[in-house]
């Protein structure tokens, strides 16, 4: 049996969902033989590869770079999972949406030099938004972060090729 090609991605979030994924603890070793981690912040492969079976995406879409990434991820993945409240609802990152980005940056960085995007840093979108406002999402896993058990159930069901029916009820917050 060939391994399932799994990628995890982190857009505008706090990495808490990735940490919750690592909270699978010993179960990480159980799923290790079944999956090939082809792209992840905890691995070393930079390019988001082709033919990804399952992409777990944490975080909201906040910058032009995030938008570019999510489009590429959708194009190259069979199943796209929105992992956690930021990717599902835009959560805390959306709290900046009432401010115009440049005014916000001025407020944060004072009157001196301000990274307004362009050049080496990405440019902020006017609003931080959930990923399904940009691309189709196959599975939603809300929570801040979703508990490890819920992530485990989601992954197990995807590996077994079923839609999840009996997983713990997902909950916002």
């Amino acid at each position: 049996m060939s391994k399932t090609r799994v990628a995890t991605v982190w857009l505008d979030g706090c990495s808490g969902c990735h940490m919750s994924f690592l909270d699978l603890d010993e179960r990480l070793l159980d799923i290790a033989p079944l999956i090939q981690l082809v792209h992840s912040p905890i691995a070393d492969v930079k390019e988001f590869p082709e033919n990804v079976d399952v992409a777990l995406v944490e975080g909201a879409v906040s910058s032009d770079e995030d938008e570019e990434k999510i489009l590429k991820i959708r194009e190259r993945s069979k199943i796209l999972v929105a992992l956690g409240d930021c990717s599902v609802t835009s959560n805390v990152p959306s709290m900046r949406n009432q401010f115009e980005p440049n005014r916000m940056l001025h407020a944060i960085y004072g009157d001196g030099v301000i990274p307004l995007g362009g050049g080496p840093v990405p440019t902020l979108l006017r609003k931080s938004r959930p990923i399904h406002e940009f691309v189709n999402v196959d599975v939603y896993v809300p929570g801040c972060p979703p508990p490890a058990d819920l992530i485990f159930d989601t992954i197990s069901n995807l590996l077994a090729g079923q839609k999840r029916e009996d997983a713990p009820a997902p909950k916002f917050g």
């Binding site: 808490g16 990480l28 390019e47 770079e65 990434k69 960085y109 001196g112 301000i114």
Partner: protein
Amino acid sequence: MAQTITIDPVTRIEGHAKITLTLGDDGRVSDARFHVTQVRGFEKFAEGRPFYEMPSLMARICGICPVSHLVASAKACDGLLAVKVPETGANLRRLMNLGQITQSHALSFFHLSSPDFLLGMDSDPATRNVFGLAEKFPDLALAGIRLRKYGQEIIETLGGRKIHPAWIVPGGVNDPLTVEERDRILAGLPEAKDTTRLALDLFRRTAPKFADELDSFANFPSLFMSIVGKEGELEHYDGKFRVVDSDRKIVADGVAPADYADIIGEAAEEWTYLKMPYYKPLGYPYGLYRVGPLARLNTVDKCGTPEADAALHEFRAMASGSILSSFHYHTARLIEILYALEKIEELLTQTDILNTHVRAKAAPNASHGIGVSEAPRGTLIHDYEIDDDGLITKANLIIATGHNNLAMNKGVLQVAQRFVDGKNLHEGMLNRVEAVIRCYDPCLSCSTHAAGQMPMIITLVNPDGTVADSITRG
């Protein structure tokens, strides 16, 4: 027009960053910049929110060290309430913070860094990660996973969940410790200690193989800063600022958290979303200093627990002054886990840890509050002002990785000059540039409080803008 090399994203660090190396006409690296590519605006959108919500809101800065933000934020709120937190409440906060130091350092060492020195800097990037480690060293991977789990379980036992517990609140904590909970935490200690000793031993044996890296991994004189306890001991929850130089001479001491602005200034650059804090007396950009595990072990007089003190003694025998090579952040982290475990035991065996008076309640009595804690990656400062209704009017945050920003830039330059030769690019060499950043274990989710991952393409650009050469890594 110089040529540039871009490393994007920097992987196996916790966050979004890229590195640009600029090559001079001689093909040597002339400048290196570490860019943080995300900004989220916590300082701005905190404005207008009730300050009671700050600890849990600020915890969302970072999923790796949420407890440090909970602590620093709650302490700033304690200042707004102008109350004294009951001693048991303070000790319970300490306990959770130590649990987090354990899990975060274990993550950094086992899950993120050990693939480099156990599988090798030049090993296949496709397997140079925790799963590759599990394949080759299953016992070690399991031990590391269990050590992190132990730290996470302490957090869960106290606060009800492993990540973003809402248990630390202004004035203390919202739920006392029970006998069963205490005994459960105590029961896991022996195994956690064994794993830590094993890792320390392993790293001591492995480190000499990396003489080159030890030499060039951000190995330069700098100032070091942390908070220290009343007797100059290691302290992550509460203390005063101390700054030492590369000879371990104290240059500033006993600076109260509320006076942080006397010694720390903040600058901004247009090529990164991460501000550049600097040591004020030296000005910008000369006042670079380092924070974090290595800095703490350079600033303190002692750890204050027996096993950690013995390890510290051995650690310090390596140099006459401060330990300078950032490669030793790894060693420092392991010593800190040892300290954390010993301290957890000490706190849990005090009888008053079970007291039920764990929270002081009051309406706000001050309009300005500052909270400081030592996060796994270094000093964390939360500074709030509120209006008469208790709504935030101003928030300023200085995050561990921010303090290190100047130092990280210098470290990247140093290693790039040694290992990167523009005429000849190879993956392992660039990995070393990244590994320097990884040494600092930058928590970029934190750093982007104010404020990715793309293919790693290294491009050499000709003066006229045409591409001379490029390799893709993936």
